[in-house]
């Protein structure tokens, strides 16, 4: 595969001009095989194809590949750069200036939604909402229901983050209109459950989560089910019903996909939170170790473990539990040894590890016994 890719790139570099059919098949080859041939890891190729398409005035296709360059950054966790490239893709589309072409309009809506998602993922909620507002000017009934649902669903998430709950409720009502399958229904009822939770209506929240469970169960959608089990656990956790919270997070741990770092972060965090409330520091440290092992097995970016680590360090330090404080110190030393020394100065992960270690050393420092 690697060989064929290299030949592909060399072919492109050697060629001076392309006819229309060649350009179309080049575009088709790239966008249809993005995942299949690991083209996302190969930005050199994506840049080359984008330049060729734009040079030959295939602006829509060029914009699409530019957006995919953004997605390649997103896949490696560089969201600011991902946003920049998807924004570039929208500029290209906006400059085509053909409002009658539904294909352009729909792509533009999709890109603006992606930018909105990117912004809320980096916690810039106002920028996220601003993008969805910009997007709302393009929304009409001719846009496909898939895209419309995505718009209302993601805009709901941004509005809840921005604490605009009235708007969130209106958006949920709209997304229910376009949730034509069980998976979309499941995610929309999850939005409704989160909305009720935020406006402090736990009973309504639970009812919405039950509807989400029903929808996901009908599709055997394990990721969706795990998400709702986690959210019900959080609902009980915040209403101080710890037994029920434990019960639901256990259900989540029975099924969730350990290879997905984002799910791991969320669910381990909830689990550890619930255990720590019971002051069971031993189990919290064990769960943390389980997460660290998973991150080794699936080669996660180690930054994913920081949320859980932060929780455990914070609680154990606050309660000054020496036994587990020392255990935690050893875990940190082990993690620090794994880091690349050359990276330390400019590495958020390493900096965090050192700051946790410093905090634990400060609290659990023992003077060595003096030898007489």
């Amino acid at each position: 595969m690697e060989k064929s890719r290299r030949i592909f790139l060399e072919d492109l570099e050697e060629k001076d001009s392309f006819n229309n059919d060649e350009l179309k098949s080049l575009y088709e080859n790239i966008v249809k095989n993005l995942d299949k041939h690991d083209y996302y890891d190969d930005r050199e190729l994506l840049f080359k194809v984008k330049d060729i398409l734009i040079e030959h005035k295939m602006m829509f296709e060029g914009a699409h590949v530019t957006k995919e360059i953004g997605i390649s950054y997103y896949k490696e966790g560089n969201i600011p750069k991902a946003i920049r490239y998807v924004e570039n893709a929208t500029y290209i589309l906006e400059n085509i200036n053909d409002n009658s072409d539904m294909r352009i309009k729909e792509a533009l809506v999709n890109y603006l939604i992606s930018i909105g998602v990117g912004y809320y993922e980096v916690l810039s909620y106002q920028s996220s909402v601003a993008n969805f507002k910009k997007c709302s000017k393009l929304i009409d009934s001719k846009i496909s229901s898939n895209v419309l649902w995505r718009y209302y669903h993601e805009y709901t998430i941004a509005s809840i983050y921005a604490k605009d709950y009235d708007n969130a409720k209106k958006l949920i009502d709209k997304s229910l209109e376009y949730a034509h399958d069980n998976v979309k229904k499941g995610f929309t009822y999850n939005d409704l459950g989160r909305y009720y939770w935020k406006v402090k209506k736990p009973l309504d929240s639970r009812r919405a989560y039950d509807k989400a469970l029903e929808a996901f169960k009908a599709e055997n959608h394990n990721n969706g089910l795990a998400l709702i089990y986690n959210n019900i656990a959080m609902l009980y956790y915040t209403t101080k019903k710890n037994e029920q919270a434990s019960e639901w997070i256990e259900k989540c741990f029975e099924i969730f996909d350990r290879s997905d770092p984002k799910q791991c972060v969320m669910f381990f965090d909830t689990y550890i939170r619930i255990i720590l409330r019971k002051h069971d520091f031993g189990e919290a440290v064990d769960k943390l170790l389980e997460f660290i092992k998973l991150s080794d097995n699936y080669s996660f970016d180690k930054r994913y473990i920081l949320d859980s680590l932060d929780l455990v360090v914070d609680r154990i330090s606050s309660f000054k539990n020496e036994e587990y404080g020392i255990k935690l110190k050893n875990i940190l030393i082990h993690l620090i040894k794994q880091t690349d020394e050359n990276d330390i100065e400019d590495n958020y992960y390493s900096e965090k590890l050192y700051s946790y270690l410093g905090r634990l050393r400060y609290l659990f420092y023992k003077k060595p016994k003096r030898r007489d």
Partner: protein
């Protein structure tokens, strides 16, 4: 006086260290920037 200042500094340091942001982890169900979770984008070619 020096001792007093030193112990005050220690107390405030412990206080600062024990403050942490506790945010609840409810899952949004967001599909990410490429929305692969629930939508397969249709590729329309001219």
């Amino acid at each position: 006086m020096k001792k007093l200042l030193k112990s005050l500094a220690c107390i405030s340091l412990v206080f600062i260290l024990s403050i942490s942001i506790v945010s609840a982890t409810d899952g949004t169900g967001g599909g990410g920037m490429n929305s692969v979770n629930y939508i397969i984008e249709e590729i329309v070619i001219k």
